[in-house]
């Protein structure tokens, strides 16, 4: 899991499952509500996630990854989906374009380095 500050909602970073099998970043529609993101005119697409058909509303927003005093901010397209039965977002690979990602499953760590 990776916790991301969505569009400045820094009191509640949203847990996202790193999904190397997905291309896009997807979150529940409620996250857009919480962060006050206007989805009028958003890119609308029907998508299937984990066997569930849902509608994604895409918007280019700011995501921030923090640890201690360090942080990195970037602006991918995030799809806010309705329905969204999961309690976390999915961080697909296009959301990680600015990073070099290393996964060490055996030692249970991942490493994200900005390019």
């Amino acid at each position: 899991m990776i916790d991301l500050v969505v569009e400045g909602l820094d009191l509640a970073p949203q847990a996202c499952l790193l999904d190397t099998g997905a291309t896009d970043v997807r979150m529940g529609y409620h996250v857009a509500d919480l962060a006050g993101i206007d989805l009028e005119g958003a890119l609308v697409s029907d998508i299937v996630v984990g066997g569930l058909r849902t509608t994604g509303y895409g918007a280019t927003i700011q995501l921030e990854l923090r640890q201690g005093r360090d942080s990195h901010t970037w602006s991918p397209t995030v799809y806010f989906c309705d329905p969204w039965p999961w309690g976390f977002g999915l961080l697909g690979l296009s959301g990680l374009d600015p990073f070099l990602l290393t996964v060490n499953a055996y030692e249970e760590w991942i490493d994200l380095k900005p390019h």
């Binding site: 009191l11 984990g50 309690g87």
Partner: protein, 182 residues
């Protein structure tokens, strides 16, 4: 079995407190931030004063945390103190780990692998009472849990708290793994 009842005097006023009465009164009440001491009611951690204020209707200044804690532990509610925030290092725990850009150039451990700092996370045992709830966590503690995500964020804003992570505690393994519900 007879229910535990306790006659107490708080702020010069007599009260008869029952375990079931306290559990009922706290049902659905979001806990305030736990600064130090807590008691466990209905599987959730509350500041002792919050529980007694809720049950008795007294004013906050009319009792102390220690007095509230003594009364509640006397009724059989488990109590404890919040652990200090701790930084864990890889190899010392089983929590899910993560490494971030700040760790570039981290030191090398005896095994030759890079040592990586990571924030501790709430354990499965800590999250178990909150299955199906949205939670905000900080370190290995649950700050707040509610059935709606808006209630969690509202609580954080109201109490000027900043969480490390917000998510819904999965109902089952399928949900935790990202599979859609059947």
């Amino acid at each position: 079995m007879a229910e535990t009842t306790r006659d107490v005097t708080i702020a010069h006023r007599p009260f008869t407190l029952r375990v079931s009465q306290i559990e009922r009164a706290m049902r659905g009440v979001l806990p305030e931030p736990v600064k130090d001491h807590f008691v466990v009611v209905n599987g959730r951690r509350y500041p002792p004063k919050q529980v007694l204020l809720q049950v008795t209707g007294l004013e906050r200044a009319e009792l102390t945390t220690h007095h509230a804690r003594r009364i509640l532990t006397g009724l059989g509610f488990p109590a404890g103190r919040r652990a200090r925030e701790r930084e864990a290092l890889a190899g010392t725990g089983t929590a899910r780990r993560r490494a971030l850009p700040s760790e570039q150039g981290a030191s090398t451990s005896r095994t030759g692998s890079r040592r990586r700092a990571f924030r501790s996370r709430a354990s499965a045992a800590t999250l178990e009472p909150f299955v199906g709830h949205w939670v905000a966590t900080k370190g290995d503690e649950v700050l707040v849990a509610a059935l709606q995500p808006h209630a969690v964020v509202g609580w954080l804003a109201q109490h000027n708290q900043q969480a490390d992570s917000m998510f819904r505690v999965p109902d089952d393994e399928h949900e935790a793994s990202g599979a859609a519900p059947l």
